[in-house]
């Protein structure tokens, strides 16, 4: 029965990957094109003429901020509200020169030198946390509250002959 005629394979079966390996490139291309045609015909599209997008050089804005340089809306005179007066200077100066970087000098509570000193002894302060009770004696504080440098650990002394 198998010798009488070739068994007819279905289209879906022929489209499967393992059946395509034996085909040559031309038949492959043809099959692909057919598939693409089927898929694109199924897609919906509007049958309208193509609208050309006009390059518009005019931009519409409804805001008066671009048109006129207006001052800041809050005002205070003769010291009635000092915060608003400070704001007035700040905001109106911002309008005049937009690329202004104001450096604020913050008053330091702790001077830079003291910070450096504290960080030097950081080893002592953190080490104190993990030291066992015996070693805590090494971390005594002197008058200023600064940690004294760690004393040398007691090593095993070899007995001398």
């Amino acid at each position: 029965m198998a010798a009488e005629r070739k068994t007819k394979l279905s289209k879906n079966l022929l489209r499967m990957k393992f059946m395509q390996r034996g085909l040559d490139s031309e038949t492959k291309k043809q099959l692909e094109e057919e598939e693409k045609k089927i898929i694109s015909e199924e897609h919906w599209y509007l049958d309208l003429p193509e609208l050309k997008e006009k390059e518009s050089v005019i931009i519409e804005e409804q805001s008066f901020l671009l048109c006129e340089d207006l001052l800041y809306g809050r005002m205070s005179f003769r010291g009635f509200n000092p915060e608003v007066e400070k704001l007035m200077l700040q905001m109106n100066a911002k309008n005049k020169a937009e690329d202004e970087d104001e450096d604020e000098i913050v008053e330091l509570d702790v001077s830079d030198e003291e910070m450096a000193r504290r960080y030097e002894t950081l080893v002592g302060t953190i080490g104190k946390k993990f030291a066992k009770k015996r070693d805590r004696a090494n971390y005594e504080e002197d008058e200023n509250g600064n940690i004294k440098p760690v004393k040398a650990k007691k090593m095993f002394l070899k007995p001398q002959d």
Binding site: V57, S63, L66, C67, E68, L70, Y72, G73, M75
Partner: protein, 275 residues
């Protein structure tokens, strides 16, 4: 003024569009079309849409022009939608061709994005406040839109408070939304305006006149006595001075100075300075 209106009416009747450059600081009426500078030589005296052949037709300089309030884009031209004087501002730097707008007068405010306005809190519902700004619908203000506000740390805002804030969303399709912080999260003077004081309404044009950089009225007012003023672009002004009488005087001056000439104003200020 009468001749300007007559000329405008004639040109409208003739159907010719005028060049924007020639109409600066003159009265324009709604419905007029204005030509931008780069199109003037194309419209010859024949006018009716015939364009002479130009060898360099494609190399028109493409300057970006901004059309401001009172103007609309109509093809390549500007269409006037409000009556008033046409103004122009040259850009200091950059490739834009400047801003054109119509300086008109009106009392009704339409919310615009970026405007700083004074609003009155009318309702508190859930997470937002409803703020009346004088537009067609109340704006919504989220309680998180204040400096330093978190879900647990709510701002102290009650119904009836005055708020100074700016719009982040304002178009004709949606309810306007306002906030009391800027893009960095700082208040910059926005938020609840303090107690006392007086809120009154003026025309929008007066607000812009008073907020102009060199405004004599504000300079003279500032010399009278210690006071505080907040201007909202929606036509609302809030003033506060030490006594009620001073506050009322200030409110009356600001309302009246729209229709006074400079001389009359100086007289009134001189009289006040004497008292």
């Amino acid at each position: 003024m009468a001749e300007a209106v007559q000329f405008a009416a004639e040109s409208l009747a003739g159907g010719r569009a005028r060049a924007a450059r020639t109409v600066l600081d003159q009265v324009v009426l709604p419905g007029e079309e204005l030509l931008l500078p780069e199109q003037e030589d194309v419209e010859g005296p024949g006018g009716a849409g015939e364009r002479p052949l130009r060898l360099n037709a494609g190399t028109r300089s493409r300057l970006r022009v901004v059309c401001g309030p009172g103007l609309r884009r109509c093809g390549d031209r500007l269409l006037v939608t409000k009556c008033g004087r046409l103004r122009h501002k040259d850009p200091g730097s950059g490739s834009s061709g400047g801003v054109y707008w119509v300086d008109s007068q009106q009392k009704r405010y339409v919310p615009v994005k970026g405007d700083h306005v004074i609003g009155i809190v009318t309702a508190k519902s859930g997470d937002i406040f409803k703020v009346d700004v004088g537009g067609s619908e109340p704006a919504s203000l989220s309680y998180l839109a204040f400096e330093g506000a978190t879900k647990r740390n709510r701002p102290n805002v009650q119904v009836g408070d005055l708020i100074y804030g700016q719009f982040v969303v304002a178009n004709k399709d949606m309810e306007p939304e306002m906030v009391c912080i800027d893009s960095c999260g700082r208040a910059n003077g926005m938020g609840v305006i303090g107690h006392d004081g007086l809120l009154f309404k003026v025309t929008l044009g007066l607000i812009r006149k008073l907020l102009a950089p060199e405004c004599e009225i504000i300079q003279e007012v500032g010399k009278l006595y210690p006071l505080e003023i907040v201007f909202g672009m929606n036509g609302r002004i809030w003033v506060k001075a030490k006594t009620i009488q001073q506050t009322l005087i200030l409110a009356n001056i600001l309302e009246a100075c729209e229709h006074m000439t400079a001389d009359q104003r100086k007289q009134i200020f001189a009289r006040l300075a004497e008292n």
